[in-house]
Point group: C2
Chain length 337, copies 2
């Protein structure tokens, strides 16, 4: 199923590279704009775009109501290697839920997963992954799922850095989000990841409220259980927020064409294209290029996670800024010294 | 099809009652809270709820991020008689589009509609209405539809009042929206009406931006036409934002349970129930009861438009405030002297 290709496609599960903590230390004063961005054309391009679009009375001015900025999440705001973090969550959930599912001890892919045999799980392909996702992302109320995500995000750690997953967000992108908001931009997440998986923690981690998070979703059903209304998550896809699904969902959720968009893979191509071909206002498109094999990970054209080919090929055509993580970013993660 | 029952079900098409302009004039100073609301328990209940939920350090305090207020549109923020205004738009669109559709001169329900024979149109039931809706709400780009709505909303007038439809909004509700926003509440529309029909004008008319409008929608498709990306509206329902669909869509769009909800019909029952049974915070549910046959329209239990039965029956159980338009509102429309 195509659904899974983007949602949780996993490669190189065991190729986890330890993240170095040697990132260049920042001695820049806090009042500086984008302090974790090295000086250069890219940093300057961002600042110049924000300056010109917020200067009232000029041709490039964008009214506050139309300052819509959209960002992919996996690989754009936080890391996505060696597997999408949401898949790590799903795997952990299978383990946590196993006591109530004795049938999993004899049913694949759950049996293999519980035995730590990831090779057999992966051999099951997308069908197996879909079974894992649906078993862990449906069949409960939205409140119960929310609670499970909150517990996980506050305790689960990355195999490479040993840091909480929620600490593996990109410091320069946090600064960019803050900078845009300080200039009247409304910041959104538009991710292939699950909408209900992201919403419980995006406010705390990115300063982005639940209502500004767009993602893939399952259908939910309103039901009265023991006299109490609840929303039940159903094992049925509602929307896949990837590729052409991104501009579609931006329309359905926001109803405006973004003027600023950031992504990192070809899953973001349509959203970037939709942004950069809009009429009337200046537009800004940027692609986070994973070029730092020491401090983070280096991958693009040949990677199954965060595959980036069309985006690089057409960057000049659409005037997309390619962020070179290795040279543009002073530090990658907030926890770096 | 059930779809149409709520979307555009029309009765009493010709029972249009002229709206009186004799509404009691308001001499209250502008600094007053809710000046078009008469003094009484209802006005006091609103003010007291807002006061207690915005006082930091108290048990009833609601943080700004959770101050979510949702309002139905038809019959709650603007009038809905003698037919849903969006149906008037659809009828006008058929007439405007007719020159490019010669086949409509010989095909029902278009032939009857173009001849002004609404009885035959209505005899076609929901199937005919669905044909009219789909012919006028799909098959074009989102930009083209947006333009058509803007032209219509700025020119089309109501058969009874002869005022623009967009002027037939409820002054006391405009004040309530302003009052809530001034107190940190984020105001949303959650309507059975079309999301793309409302978004072009809600900012101007209600101060509610497109991204805070939730409604029924058709599917859209991202396509490149002559090298330019566009979103095409498809003749296929994406979501029906009525009854149980309202809490479902509130979840998918906002991801938070509202603390304040206003409606006027049983189409809002589930949304009100979902609001009023939430945990942790004080909750406010209100129903606009159409009781004023002189200044607006009087209808409830027996009406096909804005049918209200369960809401009245269970108002006490859920502590919903019933707004008596006749006695609670000093004026109905902004244009009243």
């Amino acid at each position: 199923m195509k659904v899974l290709t983007f949602l949780f496609f996993v490669i190189a599960i065991f190729s986890c590279k330890p993240q170095s903590e040697k990132g260049s230390s920042s001695s820049v004063a806090k009042t500086d704009t984008l302090p974790s961005w090295n000086e250069g054309v890219n940093k300057q391009a961002i600042i110049s775009f924000v300056n010109k679009t917020t200067k009232e009375g000029t041709a490039d001015f964008i009214p506050v109501t139309d300052r819509i900025a959209c960002f992919d999440n996996d690989g754009t705001l936080w890391s996505e290697q060696p597997m999408y973090f949401q898949l790590a969550f799903a795997i952990d959930r299978v383990k946590a839920m196993a006591p109530k599912h004795p049938e999993w001890n004899t049913t694949q892919p759950f049996k293999a997963l519980l035995e730590g045999d990831m090779k057999t799980v992966m051999a099951g392909g997308e069908k197996a992954l879909m079974q894992i996702v649906m078993a862990t992302h449906s069949g409960m109320t939205t409140g119960e799922f929310d609670q499970a995500v909150k517990e996980w995000i506050n305790t689960a750690t990355h195999p490479g850095t040993k840091k909480l997953y929620k600490e593996m967000v990109y410091q320069p992108m946090l600064e960019l989000l803050d900078y845009l908001r300080a200039n009247g931009y409304k910041t959104y997440i538009v991710s292939g990841g699950g909408i209900d998986f992201m919403r419980p923690w995006t406010q705390e981690v990115y300063g982005i409220p639940a209502e500004q998070v767009i993602g893939s979703s399952v259908k939910v059903k309103y039901e009265i259980v023991d006299g109490q209304p609840v929303l039940i998550k159903l094992p049925e896809i509602n929307s896949i927020d990837d590729k052409e699904g991104k501009p579609v969902n931006i329309h359905q959720h926001i109803g405006k064409q973004p003027v600023f968009t950031g992504g990192n893979s070809d899953g973001d191509y349509a959203m970037l294209q939709w942004t950069s071909t809009g009429n009337g206002y200046p537009r800004f498109g940027m692609i986070v290029h994973h070029t730092d094999s020491v401090r983070e990970y280096a991958y693009d054209r040949k990677s199954h996670i965060g595959n980036l080919e069309k985006g690089l090929d057409d960057a000049a055509k659409y005037n997309w800024m390619i962020v070179d993580m290795k040279t543009d970013w002073k530090k990658i993660y907030p926890f770096e010294k």
